[in-house]
Symmetry: C2
Subunit: 341 residues, 2 copies
DNA sequence: TTGAAAGCGCTAACAC
DNA sequence: GTGTTAGCGCTTTCAA
């Protein structure tokens, strides 16, 4: 690997001149001729800055960590792209991690956050709000943005319009004529659940509909938890005619449980889910969903940490553009007249 | 952040003594008493080694990159875990990347591989075999292991028993009485496709069955490509009674296309796929799959690069333990007597 | 406009 | 057993 001084030797100048030119510091006064010679030498030697040298000197790694509950969860695809696209603009690299790896006391958490490898952290805690404690020490020295978890407008948070998204979904069901609408939510500890539940309730109230508390669950956002929720909602004698599921993965579980119980979707039951992903397109029936602005959340969250890395003051981010968008597929249908015995 | 010399000052010893104790070099002769004092001081100051300092000095970052085609692809969950579990044993961190980010000439590729950030690369090229060219320069200086792509036994490769996996799947169909068996493969450029196709053909041959070339496709491993494949196979007049799909994601697409075409699974068509994932459990009907040893592949691949980082000679890895395992769900059934008109 | 030199935190060769 | 010291590659004062 060629170093700065290799380039300097070849160009016949000092290392400092090379450094100034190649890291194109704005206030660099170098003659055009030397500049050219340096650039040519660098090209010829295929010079690449050594990240360790640079990081050691500047106390910056030019890396941010993006930690999400489940790397393989399709709903985060867009988030990752948003963060990466914004990061590369500012010469930053994104290091991905899993929320479960940063439990308090975990070796990986220390290696990732405690050794100067990253300049900032973007964290989606998922159903593990206590990981926020695990990074408290880090947060005192470096910028942290919590992604769509804690209450909106908390400093250092970036949130999505969960409530509006939920209302969009529920409104769709109401417009189809449904009145007995169930809610399959996340765990109570997950702050997004409160927002989605509240969206559900306010939209029901706005339509003058009663919420039947037997028709709500709070098991979680995974497919298995969706199965449990559906089993509970569909086995009683007061069955809903439609369900709003607060997460698309849980909705996949709801669909499969419904099938096992002999409930056809959408004939006997309409299902609409929050978040869109390829699994929703390919389920059976294809799921009606509400697409949330994850890409934009990622971009804006990176921009925020980038600002803070450069010393500006924290703000809180609320992404409401684009607004949640209903994608109608085949899991929802107009309420049909109840079967007469 | 406390540094080595802070710890040294507090313990009243030299930095080198501290370095020796804290990086527990094996041949360190230090009195128990000083060792204790140093450890205590480190604890009190919450000392953490600075990765840049260490990397600069030792020309090692203690990070490996794991690059896969699609971070959100559920079949890679186990791979990631395998690599991470092995890495943490040796004090290594895993940096995840996407194959599409290391296209030749991509800025991210250079940042990730060209600036000394990682000591080795584990690469799954997926349907982009040309990315192997993009990392050729890197491969000359640092260890690279290609994960289940190039031909088995290539130096620096780690492969899975694709052929055996394919045979296991096809054998299952044959045992259920199927004879007109289709094959939904990956793109021809993807070397795993050749192995899976070959497994398909040899198992057919072993049972004395003819392969109908109209019943094979090579569109790719994604759900959409599975849809296209199924449309082609199921629209002709020589319809197969069973299909072996070389990838579980494509199989999801096959299921949804079959449904649209009014072909019921498993009554009219049995479907078995290579690789297992949560989406297979939650599809309808739940997919019969063959689970491949991704976790073990990840572990062994890390062990291999770790050996090579330490200067040992490259070997090629073939993971055949555990063997591919058939997981029977509900997408396969015994061939029923053909409908009589 | 350019160069010399200090020093970021760490390891290891060498000296005591 | 323990300390001194050079130097990894880089940026940035300061001086010329």
């Amino acid at each position: 690997m060629a170093t700065l001084s290799d380039v300097a030797a070849r160009a016949g100048v000092s290392v400092s001149a090379v450094s100034r030119v190649l890291s194109d510091a704005p206030e660099t006064r170098v003659s055009d001729e030397t500049r050219e010679r340096i650039k040519r030498a660098a090209r010829e030697l295929d010079y690449r800055p050594n990240s360790a040298g640079r990081a050691l000197r500047s106390a910056r790694s030019n890396v941010v960590a993006l930690v999400v509950p489940d790397l393989m969860n399709a709903i985060f695809i867009e988030l990752v792209r948003g963060v990466e696209d914004a990061a590369i603009q500012h010469d930053y690299l994104v290091l991905m991690g899993r929320t479960e790896d940063i439990e308090p006391g975990d070796e990986r958490a220390r290696k990732l956050l405690g050794e100067g490898r990253v300049d900032a952290l973007l964290l989606q805690p998922g159903d593990r709000p206590h990981v926020v404690d695990a990074i408290a020490g880090f947060a005192q020295t470096k910028p942290v943005v919590i992604l769509n978890s804690v209450e909106a407008n908390a400093p250092g948070s970036a949130t999505m319009p969960d409530e509006a998204g939920a209302r969009t979904a529920v409104r769709h069901l109401i417009e189809l004529g449904h009145e007995k609408i169930g809610f399959v939510g996340g765990v109570p500890e997950n702050p997004t659940n409160a927002r989605r539940a509240s969206g559900f309730r306010s939209e029901m109230a706005a339509a003058g509909l009663e919420v039947d508390e037997h028709l709500t669950t709070d098991f979680g956002y995974t497919p298995d938890e969706g199965v449990r929720a559906a089993e509970q909602l569909l086995s009683g004698d007061r069955r809903p005619t439609a369900i709003f599921v607060a997460n698309v993965n849980a909705a996949i579980g709801v669909l499969s449980a419904a099938r096992r119980l002999g409930v056809s979707v959408p004939e006997d039951l309409s299902v609409v889910a929050l978040h869109d992903s390829w699994t929703a397109e390919n389920s059976w029936p294809p799921l009606t969903t509400v697409k949330m602005p994850w890409y934009e959340l990622g971009q804006r969250a990176f921009d925020e940490v980038y600002r803070r890395i450069r010393g500006e003051t924290p703000t809180s981010i609320v992404v409401d553009d684009p607004a949640p968008r209903l994608i109608v597929r085949e899991s929802t249908a107009r309420l049909r007249a109840p079967r007469q015995p």
